[in-house]
Symmetry: D2
Subunit: 333 residues, 4 copies
Amino acid sequence: MTDKIKAGIVGGAGYAGGELLRLLLLHPQVSLAYVQSRSQAGKPVSETHPDLLGETDMVFSAEADGDVDVLFLCTGHGEAKKFLASATVPASTKIVDLSQDFRWNEGTETAAVEAEERTFTYGLPELQREQIQQAQHIANPGCFATAIQLGLLPLASAGHLTADVHVSGITGSTGAGQSLSPTSHFSWRTENVSTYKVMSHQHLREIKRSLRHLQPEQEVAIHFVPYRGPFSRGIFITSYLPTQLSLEEAQQLYRRFYELHPFTFVTEHNPDLKQVVNTNKCVVHLQKHGDMLVITSMIDNLLKGAAGQAVQNMNLLFGLDETAGLKLKPAAF
Amino acid sequence: MTDKIKAGIVGGAGYAGGELLRLLLLHPQVSLAYVQSRSQAGKPVSETHPDLLGETDMVFSAEADGDVDVLFLCTGHGEAKKFLASATVPASTKIVDLSQDFRWNEGTETAAVEAEERTFTYGLPELQREQIQQAQHIANPGCFATAIQLGLLPLASAGHLTADVHVSGITGSTGAGQSLSPTSHFSWRTENVSTYKVMSHQHLREIKRSLRHLQPEQEVAIHFVPYRGPFSRGIFITSYLPTQLSLEEAQQLYRRFYELHPFTFVTEHNPDLKQVVNTNKCVVHLQKHGDMLVITSMIDNLLKGAAGQAVQNMNLLFGLDETAGLKLKPAAF
Amino acid sequence: MTDKIKAGIVGGAGYAGGELLRLLLLHPQVSLAYVQSRSQAGKPVSETHPDLLGETDMVFSAEADGDVDVLFLCTGHGEAKKFLASATVPASTKIVDLSQDFRWNEGTETAAVEAEERTFTYGLPELQREQIQQAQHIANPGCFATAIQLGLLPLASAGHLTADVHVSGITGSTGAGQSLSPTSHFSWRTENVSTYKVMSHQHLREIKRSLRHLQPEQEVAIHFVPYRGPFSRGIFITSYLPTQLSLEEAQQLYRRFYELHPFTFVTEHNPDLKQVVNTNKCVVHLQKHGDMLVITSMIDNLLKGAAGQAVQNMNLLFGLDETAGLKLKPAAF
Amino acid sequence: MTDKIKAGIVGGAGYAGGELLRLLLLHPQVSLAYVQSRSQAGKPVSETHPDLLGETDMVFSAEADGDVDVLFLCTGHGEAKKFLASATVPASTKIVDLSQDFRWNEGTETAAVEAEERTFTYGLPELQREQIQQAQHIANPGCFATAIQLGLLPLASAGHLTADVHVSGITGSTGAGQSLSPTSHFSWRTENVSTYKVMSHQHLREIKRSLRHLQPEQEVAIHFVPYRGPFSRGIFITSYLPTQLSLEEAQQLYRRFYELHPFTFVTEHNPDLKQVVNTNKCVVHLQKHGDMLVITSMIDNLLKGAAGQAVQNMNLLFGLDETAGLKLKPAAF
């Protein structure tokens, strides 16, 4: 088909890059032009990502060369900025950057981030789908940031974030990337739990900016305890705050807010993480205990928390069905 | 689309039934008419399989009622036979049975099993795709049987199974179904290993029958040690036997045998189980040590070992592309 | 040795009973008189607990018969009360009950619980070792209750619990006992996360009572989110509240409080759960972020959270070294 | 106590060294003089092995200095030889080397290995306890080698190894040491299976030498498929060969052979790996299928497969009770 969107990936050897590859190779409206990786240049893609055996004969390129309609940047934090500063990417190329380099944050005053002669729109469709549809460059949100925001956006949109929010969350090992470290060793991590960046996780900055976007008149503190869990995929978040809303009112607020969003679902049953693993979905659940509203929100960190959301953003950028290439069979087990 | 194949599922609450649901709901040429389950009748499908939240509003039916083009039987062993003996399924309805009730076995003399006034063809496409294409009723192979056979078929087809075969294999917990037992308890199974049915696994019977089909003049013993492993999805098989074939000859034999089969791949790299998890693929790897040929073969037990292969068989029964609805994003992690 | 303490176990087939058996069989000053289990009566103990193969020839008895110095009740909640109401246990027999039947709770006014003509002292040695030493009957604390209290006791003892406390915690599967249920199935629990009894966990009642004991003049709310994690042993707790104390002051307070307690340790390094697995230890870690004091506390739920603490209490009841029989090699991995 | 054995550890930062530390710190007749580690010199032992928090204040030394009664070498393969060639260890110091540097192997003609002016006795107590008791230097067996031999020794001792032996085995991640590699990453290894060194594992060489020791007149081939499993501790072995022995005769042979050995047990129940985890035990189980004798044997690779057996050997070298310091509470879960 001559109408397919030509896509390129920069940094295709890592976890997010690999997941993006898995998605784009199956996307009905995308043709993959190249996959760049400095470390794997010249090697078949299916050697680095052996689950792609039989799916592609592509070889990693050393350079991000060739004309593409959309460029996905899956490089490390700080590297996206460097890449755009040095590479000659045509102004017409749409960009989805998966790093934090161009995400808005606490201090961002404007509606988007200006950098490298480009304007980057924060790419959380449930927050600002229209802006994304009209954007040229997208800063794809962080994984924890996505899961936490999807638990809080409806409240903020209605001005109901009126007290400190207490958040705890558990992430799988793919959230930390594939670099080797003592805490990524199987012997250490299996059957183990630990915390990291307690109260100081970098994703809090983009979360606060988004909440200010919806609820400019009031800022609340967000206290966040992130856990490392002994599993590979997924993020499970529990948030709570006191509210005057009854459970029914809160459920109605959430259902209405997500009604037209195809990936976020409100459930009345106590959920578990594997409902969303290997899907682009977010599942949200509400409880009320006394005056405390407890919100559970869950995503697959590599999909809705990274590569899946990047494809969702691409779909919006090009006017495709928002779910194109993202109807995925859940792993379930 | 009015041309969609109307499918029904009997026994949709279990692991295989659930996986079949996940596949058929996303299959572009299938329309699901009903999902029957005695235990869950009246309950929304997405309550029993919560990963299907947002994917379907179907409710389990108590009976397998309604006219369908194809019926999938996902009931327990022995139950499929009972069902067909008592239910009035039109002769024109195609059937894919996932139980062992109608699989050929060591003692089966004919090319298919006659039972309940029907003829059941053993549904391993890599063994007999043409027969499946012309069949009306399919006995879907067992999970261990599929993985072991895919490791041995090329040798048998060329008359190279000339010595006892030694097989060990490790299966995930979903292979044992969802019934609760001491050995299915998480506290027991996590970080644990055990064997079961050593040298006496029931799948050996269909394996032997298939090998006789390809290599009628010589029967060899198959010694099989099945392990339970601490993971949920997948079967990993290692088989070996002495052979005169060089490694190159063996690789060529295997590559040629699987050349036109879209799901089975021969790799030159030492493989690992997660290459196939959440896919319908089988990955095969060969090594030669002295005169011993060592064959690794791996599948996802719920897909190529059950529901995926059932859909593959349905595709063949109806003349569809063999891979329709089976291009799945690997879980990878 | 003729001076050994004669011990009996009621309810020896469950997780806590099994762990107690493992400890008492190796305890240098204990002789095990009988292990009762209704469900396993007549069966060798090492069949039900196969890790005890070679450690004991004992057979489960149907009745708790025979004279013992100390009786451990490892029956389910509600069963301990019934047992003592119907059995004829001599008044001289010391009792350690591992259920919640005789634990103090929010509403308990006195320093101990009076029931079944006995006085039960709440058995958390770090809270009230002297009272335990003089007691005759012990109500062994709950696992979550132990881990949370050990994170908060020093603050309460100094009157520093002056604001709401926010607590999240993750428990392994053995915390839920060995009964079979959909959420105890390996296929479900592996690589999965969920919450349960959010804001309403029953252990909050004994925690609140203990805190009132130390800090009677002020009561604070405790907001608790309990998670189920994909591992078998251990509880990992994170608690936080605002405080005027500097990190150094808090560390000094905690170190002083636990100085003479042999199982609870304050670490300056970010800890992980496997530091305490298969030990009777509790590890506590403090951080300060802004005015928020964050306290991590971790135990093995079957040891310091159940059977290990029961033995610790027995040691205190009989005037033995508090650590007798509890110097355990950590599993570490 | 002035009579304690003074012990030193060279290479105390790795998995085997850490496990040895855990054991020796609790051994009633051992006083630990120093723990050497080049990489961790100057750091507290409990920082590198955080499970030892509260157990010791020792600091890693840079050199193996000071007079000791027994020296444990936990360095990598090849390093033990180098160490002894360069260090000045008194001739009177007993040595237990955990590497493969001084183990006998296929080609070793004498009853022990002569190297670095010392004679190293192969330290498998179930094979040659008397020789160990009279030895001065011990080559501690490999983990797979221990598990496989304990499954075969009784047969070899009676001249019943008369046909090729087929062996498959699964090892936990600690068997591969703590060095970081793609296959040690949690994201890769969790829920995964793979093979390595199929038919060519280096431990086969010491196994063959031991079997020749017991059964010099006949040599049989051993075909070995080693698997990597998704768990941290333990080795599970299944071996089989045809035999004339009845099941009862085989059981009697095994029971008699291990009767006076305190760590190896024959069970009549189908065993599972966690029976031995965190113990120095080996559990052996026999089945007969047709004329095939199937032998299961299981150990904890860090204990009976490394540090535990090293302590067992030390006990024998010094005339202590063979089980001193090795009565360990099983982890069970």
